[in-house]
Every structure is written in structure tokens, then in C-alpha cells.
Amino acid sequence: MTSESRKPNAQENGQQNGQDAGHSNGQVITGSVRLVHAAGMHARPAVKLTKLAKKFQAQISIRASDAAEWINAKSIAKVMALRAARDSIIEIKASGKDAEGAVAALVDLVAADFPDNAP
């Protein structure tokens, strides 16, 4: 993990949208990481990110560099449409029972520049 990435942390309930409604403890886990990939969020990294996100049951959203809109991290079309450039900060938030693991794994993936042996 690089110095740009931060450990996931838990936030108070109440400031998130309806994505996690119905979840028992209602916690939203967030994290952020700098996109170091030279080409930005292009097809290969986007495929890896969505594939990894789909391994978790949590609702996972991401946004790039303070964009207003959060998008579904499990949608390749949406992740590509982010058009996130190199050095943009990717924010990740997740809710659900494996949310913490999901954010940690995604932060690691982006920070390590989408290695081929990624989980």
C-alpha cells in the first residue's frame, strides 16, 4: 500500500444514501486511494476493479476526484464512464456485511496498480 492510500474507516450512520437501507448495523465503510495507473481507469484496470468488487456482497460505490455522482463499482460500463485520469483520487464506499473487506481489497488493488496476480 502506498502513502496515498488510507485505511478504511467507519462512519456514523445517517450520512449515506439509501444503498445500505435494511442492513443490520447500517455502517458505511469508506476509503480513498490515488490512481497511479499510467493510462487512468481504462479497460484492464476497470475489469479488475469490477471483478474484485463483484466478489463482495456489499453495495460498493466509487467516485473519482470529488465528482458529485457515486457510481456502482460492479458496473464495468459505469466504471469506464468515470473516465478517471491518472493521479485522480478514487473514493470508495461500501455498506453490507463484508463492506470492510471490500473497501480494503479495492484500496489495495488500486494502490498496487492492478497487479496481474490480484485476487
Partner: protein, 541 residues
């Protein structure tokens, strides 16, 4: 005046790529088969789309697995799109609103493609071709793959800019029909397929009006006529009848056991591209198989087939042939026949690249499997194996060493195997010019590539079709050279290119000294008839 009246009787002249006659419904296609899908209920349509997405996804995933590397990553993006619920949601929304699955899918994808095309980033713009590929694959499955979808009607005259071989193979030609291409070339792969199936094909028509209902293809006159008048249809039918009578006459000649010319027996062999080609009605009259291509084994989604699968295919052909000779050519990938996961990507000039034997020698793990299967099959009958695209005797020897190793290994394991006769294709001018230096058991002239390399004309480039004349004296000179070397050294020489099946070329080939010709099963009758016609006044040259 209406549009139809403008079209009626319009005629176009092109070049004949496959001779024959066709009269049938006119179907203009552009990349995607534009037949209209009969829509079911929204529930049926949603299920049809789900099914098409699933089968397309597994097709692409299999391609990705075979491709590996960068190719795989690009294809994985396509697979991810097909599994992306957010991406699919608007399509299913349209379907629940009553749209047919194909229309809803195409509309959504077209909008996405337009969006990508307008992206400021060149990389994203380039991804629109991935979307277009996915769009077309799914559409083909939706419109062509299932039984309820209407495909191209039987016996149709199919008109397209060009036709990829895979699409030609998807069309049902059992009731005849024909192909009219605006571009294309008589030497393309699809033209070879058309000739092999006896489907008439005219290429290089330039442009053709849309909207006709029926069309005539006249392979003798190289013409396409749209919405023909009754009078023209009657005239056409008479010409077709005459053509068929001539063919029937030729078929009768086929049954005679041997063909000879100037007192010498001419062996007529057949070219096959897959085992099924032996089902052609005329195949049984052949004196053997002069060329069995093996690239069909490489077109599979699951990659290069294992030794057993290959052995079964080779063995089936040898069983069919009985005592007759069977010449099997080792993988001739590369050039205009790229194979994901096997051929070298990104060559600037693949026709002059790592193809044929050159490729097999650098991919011994793939080559060895084929050689093992061939060595096992050789136990059955009269197998001859030839290497394509050989330039120097060293390459032949290197290939032979691999073969010897394969045989030794099999025998050590107690598996019956023998070392068959090994010969070479003569298609590189350097090999033709130094043919006496090759210690091959036999030679087979690959006249398509030989003509391409001697005339420096890309055979897939229609603009050069006139220049790439197989009857060019330089080409004939090399053929003669190889035939003479065969005669001097007691090695058999055959020719398996398109010119062997072209009545115009046959006298020249016989005059060059060739006594073995290998042609598509559908050309066998015509070739035999041509030689019989010649021999009546024929003399040895």
C-alpha cells in the same frame, strides 16, 4: 415513378469468383444479418436476450482463454459488459415496454457507441469498436442462432460489401443461392469456400442498388441482375440449363476410372478443408487426397485440440481413402489465417511473416502434438505429410527431426506409430528455384501463394487481381522447374492451388510436366472433362 421501377432490370458486371447460376430472393447485408426478428412477448424477448448474452459471453470467454495476453484482456472487457446489470438495465426496460430483444439491444448499444465515439479521450473512442463487436455478436445470436429467428431465406442471392468466411459458413446453402460482393476477391478465403461448395460468387461489383426483391447471378457472364424481367429470367433459365447439362456430362465422365493425356495417366486428387468435405458426391471419384488442410482444427474456441482429437480426424480421412494416398498438410497458420494464441500478433506484413512451418518450428509444443497424431494415423494407410511455407532445406530437416522424435517417443511408450513420407509445399520462390536441394519425398506446388510471391501481389487485394495471373510466364517457369526435378529424381509432384481447377490453366499445367492435380471436389468433374477434351488432340510436350 416508384423506386422499384428504377431498380427493375438493373445489371452489374463484376468478376467471377465461383462459377454457376443462381436465381432467388435478393438479400443485402452489411456486417450484421438484417433479417427481422419476430418478436414474442416481453417475457420471451427478455429470456431470448438473456440466452443470447449468456452464449455470447461464453463464446468470448473461450476466445479470451485461447488468446491470452492483451487479447484476453480486451475480450474480458467485453465479457464484463455482457454481465453488467447496470449496463443492461435500459435494454430490459425497453423490452418490458414491448420492444423486440434485438431492436432494444441494438438501440441501447448504438447510443452507447455514439457516446464513446464522442469522448474526448482517444482511448475511450477506440473502445467503441469493442462495443460494436459485442453488439454484433449478440445480434447474430439473437437473429441467426435460434430456430425461431428467420435467417437468410434458402436459395437467396446474398449481397454484401465483403463476407467473412465465418458468416458464409453460417448461411444455409443446401438449397443453392449465390453471393454478390461489392468488393472481395476471387482469391479470398470466402471465394475458396464458395467454389468448394459449388455456390456461384461474383466479386468486385462496385456498388449495387438496395431494395430489389429478387436477383440473378450468372457466373459465366459475371453479372448480377436485380428484379429481372420475365424475359430475362427465361433467357437465364436456358443458360442455366445448358450449364447444368454440361456439368451432367462432366459427371458422367467422372465415372470413367482413369484420366490420361498424351498416353500418360493423370492423377486427379481432391483438396479438403475438413473431414465433412468427403461427403461431397464427387469425392469418391478422386484418386486420393492431394491436400488436407488442418487449420480447421485451430478454429475451435477451446484452443488447439489435443492429440486424440487430431488423431480421430486424420484417421477418419485415412479410413475413407483406403489404399489411396492422403496428403495432410501440417498447420498453415499465419498470413491471412491468424489464430489467437498461436500466430504472432502485430506483424507488419503477415504474408511475409512467421507463418506455416516457420511458425510450427518456433512453437514446438503445438507442432509436436500434431506430429504425434499424424505418426499414429500413418499406421492406418497411405499417409503423406507435407510442410507448408518452406524456404530452405534446413527447415525441412528441422521439421523432420521433430517428427522423428515424436515417432520415437510414441514407440518407446508402446504406441503404434510410423514415420510417414514427408514432403514440402513449393510456394516460396526461393524453394522453387533451389528445389533440387530439398530431400523431400514429394513436392506439392501451392500455386496461390507462389503466384502471390512471384508477382509481388497480395492475393487478398482485389485491385491487383489482374496482375496476380497464375499463367504469368514466371510462375509457369517455376512450376516447370519443380515438375522436371520430380521427374529426374523420381519424386511425385502435384499442384494444389486454384489453377488446378481452372480449365483455362490446365493445358499449361500439363505442358509444364505436371501429372497430378489436386482440386476441390466440386471441380473434379470439370477438370476431368477438360483433360478428356484435350487428350483427343493432345500430344506430349
Amino acid at each position: 415513378m416508384n423506386k422499384r421501377a428504377n431498380i427493375a432490370g438493373l445489371a452489374y458486371r463484376g468478376r467471377t469468383a465461383s462459377i454457376g447460376f443462381a436465381h432467388g430472393p435478393f438479400v443485402l447485408i452489411d456486417g450484421v444479418v438484417r433479417s427481422v426478428r419476430t418478436a414474442g412477448t416481453p417475457k420471451d424477448e427478455a429470456a431470448a436476450l438473456r440466452g443470447a448474452l449468456r452464449s455470447t459471453g461464453s463464446q468470448i470467454a473461450a476466445l479470451a482463454a485461447a488468446a491470452g495476453g492483451d487479447g484476453a484482456q480486451i475480450l474480458e472487457f467485453q465479457v464484463a459488459l455482457l454481465e453488467d446489470e447496470d449496463f443492461l438495465e435500459p435494454v430490459f426496460a425497453e423490452i418490458s415496454g414491448g420492444a423486440p430483444a434485438d431492436a432494444a439491444w441494438a438501440a441501447t448499444l448504438d447510443a452507447q457507441i455514439a457516446d464513446y465515439n464522442s469522448a474526448p479521450d482517444e482511448y475511450l473512442r477506440a473502445r467503441s469498436s469493442d462495443l460494436a463487436d459485442v453488439r454484433d455478436r449478440v445480434l447474430r445470436t439473437l437473429r441467426g442462432g435460434s430456430s425461431e429467428a428467420l435467417k437468410i431465406p434458402e436459395g437467396a442471392v446474398v449481397c454484401a460489401d465483403d463476407l467473412p468466411p465465418s458468416q458464409f459458413l453460417e448461411i444455409n446453402w443446401s438449397r443453392g443461392g449465390g453471393v454478390a460482393l461489392l468488393h472481395g476477391s476471387p482469391t479470398s478465403h470466402v471465394a475458396m469456400l464458395a467454389r468448394a461448395r459449388g455456390i456461384p460468387m461474383i466479386v468486385q461489383l462496385g456498388s449495387v442498388a438496395a431494395g430489389a426483391n429478387t436477383a440473378l447471378i450468372d457466373g459465366e457472364g459475371a453479372t448480377l441482375e436485380l428484379d429481372p424481367t420475365q424475359e430475362h429470367v427465361a433467357l437465364f433459365e436456358r443458360r442455366r440449363e445448358l450449364h447444368q447439362k454440361n456439368r451432367a456430362l462432366a459427371r458422367a465422365i467422372l465415372r470413367r476410372p482413369a484420366t490420361s493425356w498424351g498416353g500418360e495417366k493423370i492423377r486427379l486428387l481432391i483438396n479438403i478443408a475438413r473431414v465433412d468435405d468427403l461427403e461431397h458426391a464427387d469425392a469418391k471419384y478422386a484418386d486420393g487426397i492431394g491436400l488436407m488442410r488442418t487449420e480447421f482444427l485451430l478454429g475451435r474456441q477451446e484452443g488447439v485440440p489435443d492429440e486424440e482429437t487430431q488423431y480421430q480426424a486424420y484417421d477418419a480421412v485415412l479410413r475413407w481413402a483406403g489404399k489411396r494416398p492422403v496428403t495432410i498438410r501440417t498447420f498453415d497458420a499465419g498470413g491471412d489465417k491468424p489464430v489467437p494464441g498461436f500466430t504472432v500478433d502485430g506483424e507488419a506484413n503477415p504474408f511475409l511473416g512467421v507463418r506455416g512451418l516457420r511458425l510450427c518450428l518456433v512453437r514446438p509444443e503445438i507442432f509436436a502434438v500434431q506430429l504425434r497424431a499424424l505418426a499414429r494415423a500413418a499406421v492406418r494407410g497411405n499417409l503423406k505429410v507435407m510442410f507448408p511455407m518452406v524456404t530452405t532445406p534446413d527447415e525441412l530437416e528441422a521439421g523432420r527431426r521433430f517428427f522423428a522424435d515424436a515417432v520415437k517417443e510414441l514407440q518407446a511408450d508402446g504406441v503404434p506409430a510410423v514415420f510417414p513420407q514427408v514432403g514440402i509445399m513449393v510456394e516460396v520462390p526461393a524453394a522453387a528455384l533451389t528445389v533440387e536441394q530439398f530431400d523431400a519425398a514429394f513436392f506439392s506446388v501451392g500455386s496461390n501463394d507462389l503466384a502471390q510471391y512471384v508477382t509481388a501481389c497480395d492475393r487478398s487485394n482485389g485491385a491487383l487481381a489482374k496482375l496476380i495471373d497464375p499463367l504469368h510466364p514466371a510462375v509457369l517457369d517455376l512450376i516447370k522447374r519443380v515438375a522436371e526435378q520430380g521427374r529426374r529424381s523420381g519424386r511425385s509432384v502435384s499442384l494444389c492451388g486454384d489453377m488446378a481447377g481452372d480449365p483455362r490453366c490446365i493445358p499449361a499445367l500439363l505442358a509444364c510436366g505436371l501429372r497430378e492435380l489436386s482440386v476441390n471436389p466440386s471441380a473434379l468433374a470439370l477438370v476431368k472433362q477438360t483433360i478428356d477434351g484435350l487428350s483427343e488432340g493432345g500430344r506430349r510436350v
